[in-house]
Amino acid sequence: MSRLYLYGITRPREVPQRLADQGVSLVADDGRAAVVSELDEGPVEATRRNLLAHADVVEQLHEETVVLPARFGYILEGREEALELLALPEIEQLLERHARTCELTLRGKYEESVLAEVGAGLQPLRDAYRAQPSVEVGIALGEAVGERLAGRRARDKSLVLDGLQPLVLDVVAGEPAGEFAAFDLALLVERDRVHSIEAQVEELSARLSPPLHFKLVGPLPPYSFVRLAMPAVA
C-alpha cells in the first residue's frame, strides 16, 4: 500500500489535466475527496519546489470550488486512511462552511522613514548619540525607537482591523516577521466580497501610506481557517 501526500480536501470533481499530468489524483467517497499524489519512502523535503507545488495544487483547485488545504507535509499511509479522514463529520462541516469563502492575506510593512516619525520625540537621546556614537547610547536610542515602533505597529494594526472587521467573516492575526513588518492578517471573506476588501485597503492606504505599504494576496484557499481541535482518538 503506497503512502499518499495530502494536498487538501475538496468535493469530487475532475482533476484539471495539468495537475493530473503531475500525478495529482482524488480519493473520493460520499461527496468528499482527498487530493493526493503517491509518495516514495522518506520524509517530504521542505524545498522551494515542494512548497510551491503544494500551493499551486490547492490554489488552482480552489479557483473553481471549495478546497480545505492540508498543512504542508501531511502524509497518509494509504487509501484507507484517506477514507477515514473523509468520513469525519468535521470535514463535512468545514466543506460546508467554506463553500463560498476565500482567504485574503494582508500584510503591512513600514518603509524606513517610519523611524524618523517614531523617533520624533526622542531628541535628547538622538543628540546624545550624535555627540557620541557609542554602543551604549546607540542601544539606548535604538531600544527607545523599537519601543515606539511597537506602539505604532499596535495602533496601525487596530486601525486596519477596525476598517476590515465589518467586511470579513473571520480574522487570524499572525506574528509579523521582520523588524519593519507591521501586521500579518489572514482574512476570511465571501468570494464575492473580495472587491469590497480591495476598496477598503485603498482607503486605509490613503490614510496610512506612507510610511505603511500593503500587500494583499488572494483569493486563496482558507489556509488559516481549517484548524480542527479534536481529541486524539485511538
Partner: protein
C-alpha cells in the same frame, strides 16, 4: 504576477508567488487533525528560522539608532513629517553631509562588539583608533 496600485503603496497579487509568500502564507497553516497527523518533513526548521527574524537584538537597535540619526540630521528640532522632507529634497542633502560621520560611528560600534573583523582585546585602544578613523573620513567629504 503582481501589480502596484496607482499610489504605489499597495501590492496586489492573486496567488501566492515566490518562496517568501508561500512561507508566510501557508507554512504552519492548513488542515491538521491531531488523531491523524503524519507530518514528516526535512528542512522546515531552517526555513522558519530564516523567516522569523529576531526583532529585539542589539544589532537591530544599533541599526535603528543609526537610521534615526541619518533620517533626522538635517531637521534637528523639527517636527515636519517625512513626506515634507522628501518633497524639499532634504534627504539627499542630509545624506551627503553626514554619511562619513555616521559610517565612522557604526565602524566604532562594530569593532567594539566584535563585528569589525578585529581581534584586538584592548578596548580603549580600539575605541581611540576608530574615532580618529571616523574623523578623517568625515573630512574627506
Amino acid at each position: 504576477m503582481q501589480r502596484e496600485s496607482s499610489a504605489g503603496y499597495i501590492t496586489r497579487a492573486p496567488r501566492s508567488s515566490g518562496l517568501a509568500d508561500v512561507l508566510e502564507i501557508l507554512l504552519d497553516r492548513g488542515l491538521v487533525i491531531d488523531a491523524f497527523v503524519r507530518v514528516s518533513l526535512v528542512g522546515i526548521e531552517l526555513l522558519t528560522v530564516d523567516l522569523r527574524v529576531v526583532i529585539a537584538s542589539v544589532d537591530t537597535y544599533l541599526r535603528f539608532a543609526e537610521a534615526v540619526n541619518r533620517l533626522d540630521l538635517r531637521a534637528v528640532d523639527d517636527s515636519r513629517s517625512v513626506p515634507d522632507l522628501f518633497e524639499k529634497g532634504g534627504e539627499e542633502v542630509a545624506e551627503t553631509k553626514t554619511k562619513g560621520a555616521v559610517e565612522g560611528g557604526m565602524d566604532a560600534i562594530k569593532e567594539k562588539i566584535g563585528l569589525g573583523g578585529h581581534d584586538d582585546d584592548d578596548e580603549d585602544d580600539d575605541k581611540e583608533r576608530s574615532r580618529s578613523g571616523s574623523r578623517s573620513r568625515g573630512n574627506n567629504r
